[in-house]
């Protein structure tokens, strides 16, 4: 258990029982070259080129970068700057599907993964353009390469999905159980680790039997244990998952590998399995479409599909006064136009009523200390908020604003509608500006 956090009513029942539906192949996709943490990929195709599904259209521009593949077969009709669902924008390859185009690009046969070396596994993960699919989109092959002087002891598979509303990872664990577990074994092999944990929140207890059954048929000898954790946001935060399972704390501003842990998202494990066993690059993902849509769904969607198309596929939005949130309601981002593509890190599309967060009337802090009790990083949001409000960045630094994981607990609980997380993001950005000067 970690200190702090919140119990938030989860709203997961809206889409929990919906089996994953495959979204039909779209006519047109816009595939951003920057969907990941790190440098944007360099385009590997030109306007007018014909591409096949799974073909590389972007190549890594540096060490921390990623391959990008086409998710449909068709013609490149342009490479232009497009808005992303994460609020940024990026050069994107626009592909329009062509009738009669060859559906698949040929893939060489690959040997059983048990026979591969860690290096070979890491290479095929890199070639498949796999990035963390829980939201951070950090290139996964980098995580599989343990830096010198560090040693990976535990692999943790993050099945918490602690954000309210989201059920995509839950459905994947339920429907693609064997593939996820095989992905976890491949990760362990790549990191030469013997001990792994799967962490799920107690609201997903029905998965226990299914997962335990899958754990009985491991392909390599491994010690994998299933941990049922408290339903407490942000249980799925990397640092808090590690704390809950191993009892260790990632050092301030450090990385999980500093204490021998490496954490992977459920869908990342699935993608790794498909890349290593089937030579399939990352061109699709499962996401939850929920909230005020006519029919909430869990959809398997090709990367680059327009959010607007997905919304109309789910029967459209129920109310005019709404806000569109990409990701979870606690950390996701509110965008104004649905004309953005799904990217590798898009975990959900949620339609919320406009008034869920009044926010207009920001009142002074009354020092009720609810935010302090809720902060899972043990910061003092109440004081930090006042300093940030007065642009006292140095005081924010002293009070460790850099440790804030932006989980949103403080803003959620604040009775004075103070936009605490926003203030901290602002303070962090200002401090980064100062540092780089």
């Amino acid at each position: 258990m970690f200190k702090g956090g919140l119990k938030i009513s989860a709203f997961k029942e809206l889409s929990k029982e919906e089996t994953i539906e495959t979204f039909p192949c779209p006519e047109k996709v816009a595939i951003p070259l920057s969907q990941h943490t790190g440098l944007p990929a360099k385009p590997a195709v030109q306007k007018g080129d014909f591409v096949k599904e799974g073909q590389v259209i972007g190549e890594p521009a540096g060490f921390i970068s990623s391959y990008v593949h086409s998710s449909i077969s068709g013609k490149v009709t342009g490479i232009e700057n497009r808005s992303l669902p994460n609020g940024k924008s990026s050069m994107s390859v626009i592909i329009e599907s062509e009738n009669g185009a060859e559906q698949d690009c040929p893939r060489p046969d690959i040997p059983e993964w048990q026979l591969l070396s860690p290096r070979e596994i890491t290479e095929s993960v890199k070639q498949a353009g796999i990035v963390g699919m829980g939201g951070a989109a950090f290139p996964t092959f980098v995580k599989l390469m343990v830096p010198q002087g560090k040693k990976a002891e535990y692999v943790l598979l993050n099945g918490c999905e602690c954000e309210p509303f989201l059920t995509a990872d839950y459905r994947v664990m339920k429907e693609n159980t064997d593939e996820v577990i095989e992905g976890l074994q491949i990760i362990c092999k790549a990191l030469s680790v013997q001990k792994a944990f799967i962490g799920i929140e107690s609201n997903k207890k029905d998965l226990v039997k299914i997962l335990q059954k899958a754990l009985q048929n491991l392909k390599i000898p491994l010690d994998i244990s299933l941990k049922i954790l408290h339903e407490r946001y942000p249980q799925g935060s990397e640092k808090h998952l590690i704390k809950s399972i191993t009892g260790k704390e990632v050092p301030s501003l450090g990385l999980p590998i500093d204490i021998g842990c490496v954490v992977f998202n459920i869908q990342t494990a699935l993608s790794i399995k498909r890349a290593v066993c089937g030579n399939l690059p990352l061109t699709e993902r499962v996401l939850t479409v929920t909230g005020l849509v006519k029919t909430p769904k869990n959809l398997r969607v090709r990367i680059g599909t327009s959010v607007a198309d997905i919304l109309s596929h789910c029967g459209g939005i129920l109310t005019d006064s709404r806000k569109l949130v990409i990701g979870g309601p606690m950390m996701g981002i509110n965008i104004t136009s649905p004309d953005v593509p799904v990217i590798k890190s898009t975990t959900g599309i949620i339609i919320l009523p406009q008034d869920t967060r009044p926010g207009k009337e920001i009142k002074p802090c009354i020092r009720c200390s609810r935010c302090i009790d809720a902060c899972p990083m043990n910061l003092v949001p109440a004081e930090l908020g006042r300093y940030a409000e007065n642009k006292n960045w140095q005081a924010c630094k002293t009070l460790n604003v850099a440790d804030c994981i932006e989980c949103g607990c403080c803003s959620y609980i604040c009775p004075s509608e103070r936009p605490l997380v926003d203030l901290f993001k602002w303070a962090k950005a200002e401090l980064r500006k100062n540092d780089s000067r």
């Binding site: 609020g87 301030s252 981002i333 965008i335 869920t356 009142k363 009354i366 003092v380 009775p415």
Partner: protein, 326 residues
């Protein structure tokens, strides 16, 4: 420091209206809701006071609440701040302030005190969230030094029905070692004793306190530390701890005054230190000081240490061995 209403810069606010950052869902807690819950928690004791000291008490309470509201509107206009009386804090301050006045207080003194509480103690320091001292208690202290006679004129319960008879509070009786009979502990528990308007009934105050605890508006840290410290010190010095707890304003002070968010420490550790400090000062004033009662002064005294306590009780940050603050 820019005081008063939120001073987030305009550019930022405009940007925030454009894109609403996470989180997109919100707890149902709000400042007015908290303030009105505390007000409701005080209602049993308020009804009790009308029962014991007569309908004139209700007049005092209404004058205090009304003057607090007017003073708040006046100060907000004076300082050019947005009037925010619907946050419920002025009503609560008015009620709490009436609770610490003697039942026979002249109405004009009550009105003046309300103005002091809101204008001098709260708004001059920046308004809600920025005051250093508990407004009701600070105003009471000002009045006690300014109008010592009127502020110590207590009356015998139910005497309003015939002729109002003045009486000493149990703590005053103890202090002077007078030969007057003390009310029984049971009467003190029910509230049948001389004292300030809202402080006499331990039972009715505890009912309200239970509501606050159940709704998690307050925690036990401050009241428990405060009351236990007073009880322990009384016991050691040969006093009757039960009497010390119920004879004065300790229950009202510990549950409703010392727990005031704005003027108490932020962390649980800090709250315990604050409660113990209040307990020690209360005990010292009662036993060694010139006044029979010390709850109001002790809380105000400890209010001064809140920034210091906050500074030295920062929580240990996640992933850090120890917290140091330069």
């Amino acid at each position: 420091m820019t005081a008063g209403n939120s001073s987030i810069s305009r550019e930022r606010e405009e940007k925030m209206n454009e894109i609403r950052w996470a989180p997109h869902i919100k707890s149902k807690d709000s400042t007015p809701k908290i303030m009105y819950t505390v007000t409701i928690a005080l209602l049993p004791a308020m009804l009790g006071s009308i029962y014991y000291f007569g309908p004139s008490v209700l007049k005092i309470i209404l004058v205090c609440i009304g003057s607090c509201l007017l003073s708040e509107i006046f100060s907000k206009k004076l300082f050019g701040r947005t009037v925010s009386i619907n946050d419920g804090s002025a009503v609560l301050t008015g009620l709490l302030f009436a609770f610490v006045l003697p039942p026979g207080i002249p109405l004009w003194i009550a009105a003046l005190g309300s103005f002091i509480a809101i204008f001098l103690v709260k708004e001059l320091f920046g308004g809600i969230g920025y005051n250093l001292f508990n407004p009701a208690l600070a105003a009471r202290s000002v009045l006690l030094t300014s109008f010592p006679l009127q502020m110590t004129r207590y009356i015998v319960p139910f005497s309003y029905r015939t002729d109002t008879i003045t009486a000493a509070t149990p703590l005053a009786v103890l202090k002077e070692n007078a030969s007057i009979q003390l009310p029984s502990l049971w009467d003190m528990f029910l509230g049948n004793r001389a004292g300030c308007i809202g402080e006499t009934s331990t039972l009715l105050l505890l009912i309200g306190a239970l509501l606050l605890l159940a709704r998690r508006i307050i925690t036990l840290h401050i009241p428990a530390a405060y009351i236990l410290t007073v009880a322990l010190l009384s016991y050691i010095s040969g006093q009757n701890p039960t009497l010390q707890i119920m004879a004065g304003g300790l229950i009202l002070g510990a549950f409703f005054m010392a727990t005031d968010y704005v003027t108490s420490p932020l962390t649980n550790k800090g709250k315990i230190i604050f409660g113990i400090g209040c307990g020690i000062v209360t005990f010292l004033i009662r036993q060694k000081g010139g006044y029979p009662e010390g709850v109001a002064y002790s809380i105000i005294f400890m209010n001064m240490f809140v920034p210091l306590i906050d500074r030295y009780t920062l929580p240990r940050k996640f992933g850090m061995p120890q917290t140091k603050r330069e």
